[in-house]
Symmetry: C2
Subunit: 364 residues, 2 copies
């Protein structure tokens, strides 16, 4: 049965809803900002994993997309998206074959941080008579080659490899612990200084560095101020979530994603149990942040089990009977979207579209 036209409260639960108006506003607000700066937007699709949303970002002016997994990139390429940065390492034999297929049908750029890995990619490409675009990851503490001399030496080797086309560098470091804009700006500038110095050193070695890709939603208007940065990988602005809304300076972006839940039991006056548990809401790593209940006062999520959520009620602003529905704002939109097969797009509380989350589970 098609869900189109239903009131959102007629939907079964748990369902993952997009408020289309808010999402459109988020996409426009980011696009408007990037119209005014010399740096490009290359949105990260990992928070939504959905080709049509990626297309909307491109239509709004993004130059391409960023993926974290080869499987995500394959899904996006098969939806007609060409300019894809895989901001990750493709390290095993099984994936090399897939990368070659992807390279033939898109302009994929793939991360590298070791000569051995780069040689494997180059050899596979040469065998097929093609060239694969690579961008070197500069270490932000996870993967990546150290900034400075180690990166310059690797760049010198990369340009010699016949199967590769060296396109530039990229850098990732989460800055979510800096809630204040000024602290985040300071940290980001400090982190990027050696990255930009490395870019200059590589160019001094006579190697063109066309791309310097970095950043996230949290630094969307900071990264473009850093001379040398060419593109920004913001992603979460599309939906936002509780963790990101806790960051100062992201006021242009609002919550677009919610989980529709049903009250399934009212064991006491101050408690309600809903049908959304750990298997229907993704978490962050480390600190425990729970979803928010949307548009209600006096209702707080206090605990989850696998398929249940526990609400504490204190003079709630509306009654919550068994069978009633409510919406949760996820703490982490990306890990939440990865649990669902489809988005239900809603406008004025009525279902307008159903979109498959085609890259859901594409962790390979």
């Amino acid at each position: 049965m098609s869900l189109i036209g239903l009131d959102k409260y007629e939907l079964d639960t748990p369902s993952l809803l997009i408020d289309l108006e808010i999402m459109d506003r988020n996409i426009s607000a980011m696009a408007d900002y990037y119209e005014g700066v010399r740096v490009d937007l290359r949105p990260h699709v990992k928070p939504h994993k959905c080709p049509i949303i990626a297309h909307k970002q491109l239509e709004a002016g993004a130059i391409g997309i960023t993926c974290q997994k080869l499987g995500e990139a394959e899904v996006m390429a098969s939806a007609g998206i060409r300019n894809i940065l895989i901001a990750n390492q493709i390290a095993n034999k099984q994936k090399l074959h897939r990368l070659m297929g992807l390279a033939r049908h898109s302009d994929v750029i793939v991360g590298v941080d070791s000569l051995k890995n780069a040689r494997q990619i180059s050899n596979a490409a040469s065998e097929r008579g093609i060239k694969v675009n690579v961008a070197m990851e500069i270490s932000g503490g996870r993967c990546g080659v150290e900034a400075g001399e180690p990166a310059v030496s690797l760049a010198r080797e990369l340009v010699k490899l016949r199967g590769l086309r060296f396109r530039g560098i990229w850098f990732h470091k989460g800055l979510g612990r800096y809630k204040k804009v000024e602290e985040r700006r300071k940290a980001h500038f400090e982190l990027l200084r050696p990255v930009i110095e490395t870019k200059d050193m590589i160019e001094d070695a006579g190697i063109d560095v066309e791309i310097v890709s970095t950043g996230s939603t949290g630094t969307y208007n900071i990264s473009p101020e850093v001379p040398g940065v060419t593109e920004v990988q913001a992603g979460k602005y599309v939906f936002m979530d509780r963790v990101y809304k806790a960051l100062e300076g992201l006021e242009p972006f609002d919550y677009a994603l919610t989980i529709l839940a049903t009250v399934i039991s009212r064991p006491s006056r101050d408690r309600a149990i809903i049908d959304v548990g750990l298997k229907s809401r993704g978490s962050n790593y480390g600190a425990l942040v729970l979803p928010l209940v949307k548009d209600m006062e006096g209702v707080e999520l206090i605990r989850f089990s696998a398929e249940h959520g526990h609400l504490k009620l204190e003079s709630p602003s509306r009654e919550l009977k068994v069978g009633d529905k409510l919406e949760l704002i996820p703490s982490n939109c990306g890990t939440t979207a990865n649990l669902y097969d489809e988005y239900i797009g809603v406008r004025n509380d009525s279902v307008e579209v159903v979109w498959p989350i085609s890259a859901r589970g594409k962790a390979q």
Copy 2:
């Protein structure tokens, strides 16, 4: 391409592997135990969500299965399984229709804990000229009706409803915090005392209580000692996981589930990055428990991001080069299985079967 016959290290990653020999042993060990007691086994399928594994449990002697979601029950019924307890409340209108369909094609028993909800189910059943089996949940602190008088009054009402067939009661309470067998036994006996008293009170009121369903893997050999209990809902014994292995007294069951990962970067001598992150490993609620690295010493998972896992190395027992593979033992098998589309069943390190995790994501 079929994966059958491949060596497990030839598989792409992340992949979810079952060691079939260990799983078979776990299923047999539990079945053997239940052969010897007067209580039945009704395995909970939520940790595996896979019909063929449920069938194996039934073939080994289980009397039926337990599901947590209607969507799981539909998947299991469509795989030919008839005797299904949904240990949960079906509380919204959308699900009532589905429940009626399921009731026509299986012997489903569904949880109830309120008269209003029971009336809805009864009315829907009566309209169709059928009867739906119900079992009343006795509160363990989440959903459920209070033990004692409140439960007896609800039972009196339930037997009057024409569309229902009252089958008994069930009770759930997680006891994972009691690591020692004796503490768990004591807690379980204390928790079940009012439940069994309630059963007696209902029978004194002239109402037959055919089913008293409770328990879990952690109390698999404790619940049968409680007079009055008729069946046990153990589930995690099939795979086990790090959280369950931390419980004393579960020695007959061993780790059968692993996540195959690839080392994608070696940023330094004491660190390795793998391609398994939050989106490829499910977590528990609350306390942070990380997966274990299987069959290796000197390697410890220390952190996750969305698609990356961070390993700390201290004289590791084997080398870990970029491209090398290793296996992780999940901290929580149920939330992990819910992230994958298929199990790859391995025997003697060679792929024997690929099984779809058909109830993956069936949270509705």
